[in-house]
């Protein structure tokens, strides 16, 4: 008799190579509908997956054994894709909402993240102010990418002014649906990190 338990629930996506040894994180932050999932999907080797994290709000009694009643929980949903970089390195690209409650979970979810992409809708630039402020607060290196929606024209100088973005933060435009364009955004971020690292290593 075959005692092997059914594999019927296994996902359809390609598995990682046996030699995969280290996961790396990059986060795409942006307002609702700006195209985070589209950008993740454009470069991901798997169809973007979604999941969530639950946080019990500070102030709920940690030794309260009376059950869930009275506790306040916050749920944050996010999605992600995957890029195999080489035999050992696997990049996970997260699309995360920029709203206020999300930042309570930043350290829990994204400590050690390489860096972030702030995805901007130029018709709603103010949506990005808070995300940029929080990334600066957390000391997370980032680049800003304007998603070019059909019919919109982007004046990057005006966007830089509107975001009060310092000259050293890369600002690029992109088409989040396009694989090469999304790839350029990620390269801009990693090149930015490389420049920061080089600057640090040459500083006495």
């Amino acid at each position: 008799m075959d005692s092997r338990i059914s594999d019927r629930h296994l996902p359809g996506r390609a598995p990682l190579h046996e030699t995969a040894a280290e996961g790396v994180k990059i986060v795409v932050v942006g307002g609702f509908g700006v195209g985070k999932t589209t950008l993740v999907g454009a470069v991901s080797e798997i169809r973007p997956l979604s999941t969530e994290e639950v946080m019990t709000q500070a102030g709920a009694g940690v030794d309260d054994n009376s059950g869930a009643a009275g506790k306040t929980t916050t749920t944050v949903a996010f999605d992600f894709g995957r890029i195999t970089l080489d035999e050992e390195l696997v990049l996970y690209l997260f699309g995360a909402p920029g709203q206020e409650r999300f930042w309570f979970l930043w350290d829990k979810l994204f400590a050690g993240t390489l860096g972030a992409v702030v995805l901007v809708d130029t018709r709603r630039i103010s949506d990005s102010w808070y995300a940029i402020d929080r990334l600066e607060h957390h000391g997370t290196p980032f680049v800003v990418a304007c998603n070019n929606f059909p019919g919109s024209t982007v004046d990057l100088t005006a966007v830089r002014d509107a975001l009060s973005l310092s000259e050293d933060v890369p600002l690029i435009d992109c088409d989040a649906r396009d694989r090469q364009s999304a790839k350029r955004v990620l390269l801009a971020l990693v090149n930015r990190l490389y420049a920061l690292t080089s600057a640090r290593e040459t500083t006495p």
Binding site: I5, P15, L16, G23, A68, A111, K183
Partner: protein, 119 residues
């Protein structure tokens, strides 16, 4: 869809799944810690444990397991910690140097750049 499933189940089921514990700190599991099975599922095992052992026959990140099981990341971490303690799984954590806010070294970034260029 995942939201609805959790809402219907409510916190009681999540509480039961993890036998009442909410913390799983000692393995320092990250979202992108890669988990690998070291055992085969056996009959009578908790169904989530069976799923995890099947999924992790190839290295699978904590966050992927969370998505596949439709359970919050923190709940999955508790399940994984038990199974790590029992020797049913092994974990491949991100390098310690990349935890925290310090910048990664240039060699590491070069590898990331090469990998992205090859996309």
């Amino acid at each position: 869809m995942i939201r609805r499933k959790l809402d219907n189940e409510g916190p009681d089921r999540l509480y039961t799944l993890t036998r009442g514990r909410s913390r799983a700190d000692h393995h320092q599991l990250d979202l992108v810690t890669l988990i690998v099975s070291r055992a085969e599922p056996t009959r009578g095992m908790q169904s989530e444990h069976v799923r995890i052992l099947q999924l992790c026959r190839s290295p699978t990140a904590v966050v992927e397991i969370s998505a596949d099981l439709a359970l919050p990341v923190s709940v999955v971490k508790v399940l994984l910690s038990d199974m790590l303690d029992a020797g049913q799984l092994s974990a491949r954590n991100p390098s310690a140097t990349r935890i925290g806010t310090s910048l990664p070294d240039a060699d590491f970034l070069r590898k990331v750049l090469v990998g992205l260029e090859n996309l």
